[in-house]
């Protein structure tokens, strides 16, 4: 079946611009996660959705970052006033389970470059 998909696969933007990154989870998966992976590092948690609501947004670095999941399926990560330090691969994962034991299926990521 179809896995987690993310669009665009690559995004180049200028410093100060606004960007949106999209995640389509596996159909039926209620939990959705966003992570950010900088070069040479492991993924870093950003936010977790259970259904439509953000259950844990403790990883969002500041108020320039915001994510939504209005219908409990597709999610969009929004970054305002981008900075060069935002350059990274943004990963999305989804899971069937509501708790910590659900296997997370990762998408291919969106590589964001801020020039």
């Amino acid at each position: 079946g179809a896995g987690v998909s993310q669009t665009p696969s690559n995004k180049v933007t200028e410093k100060g611009k606004y960007v949106e990154l999209r995640c389509d989870p596996i159909s039926g998966h209620t939990a959705l996660y966003w992570y950010r992976q900088s070069l040479g590092q492991g993924p870093e948690f950003l936010i977790y959705f259970q259904g439509t609501g953000a259950a844990d947004d403790s990883g969002l670095p500041n108020d320039r970052f915001f994510a939504v999941r209005p219908e409990g399926s597709v999610s969009t990560l929004k970054i305002q006033r981008t900075e060069r330090g935002d350059s990274a691969v943004y990963l999305c994962a989804s899971s069937t389970a509501t708790g910590p034991r659900g296997e997370q299926y990762f998408g291919p990521g969106t590589r964001l470059t801020v020039t």
């Binding site: 590092q41 993924p43 844990d56 403790s58 899971s95 708790g99 910590p100 990762f106």
Partner: protein, 113 residues
């Protein structure tokens, strides 16, 4: 804050050599432990996981890991690596009631044919 440390950043082995990748975490309570693998050009995928019970867990492709609570460790092992095991390996822990994962910085494994 909770953290995960992977001791080896880059490992180079010949085929048939044995592998052990170290992973330590800092958290005194109950944890769930994972190893993920990312093959070149592919997505992150789960290799194996530990929740409770037998501390020696077996995963896909002949990998296993041992949870040693007293050492806060969850090392990954494989008796005989293959060229196809060339990949990046990430250790991760989960605590609390959500699925939030805390990852180590990763280990790049290069297996020479």
């Amino acid at each position: 804050a909770q953290s995960v440390s992977q001791h080896n950043h880059h490992v180079i082995l010949s085929e048939a050599a044995s592998l052990e990748l170290g992973c330590n975490y800092s958290y005194g309570g109950t944890v769930n432990l994972f190893w993920y693998v990312q093959y070149p050009g592919q997505h992150l995928q789960l290799l194996l996981k530990y929740f409770s019970g037998d501390p020696l867990v077996k995963g896909i492709k002949g990998f296993e890991a041992e949870f040693i609570k007293s050492k806060f460790s969850f090392n990954l092992r494989k008796p005989s690596v293959q060229w196809s095991d060339t990949a990046e390996y990430f250790c991760a822990v989960n605590i609390g009631n959500t699925g939030k994962l805390i990852f180590g910085q990763g280990t790049t494994l290069q297996v020479k044919p």
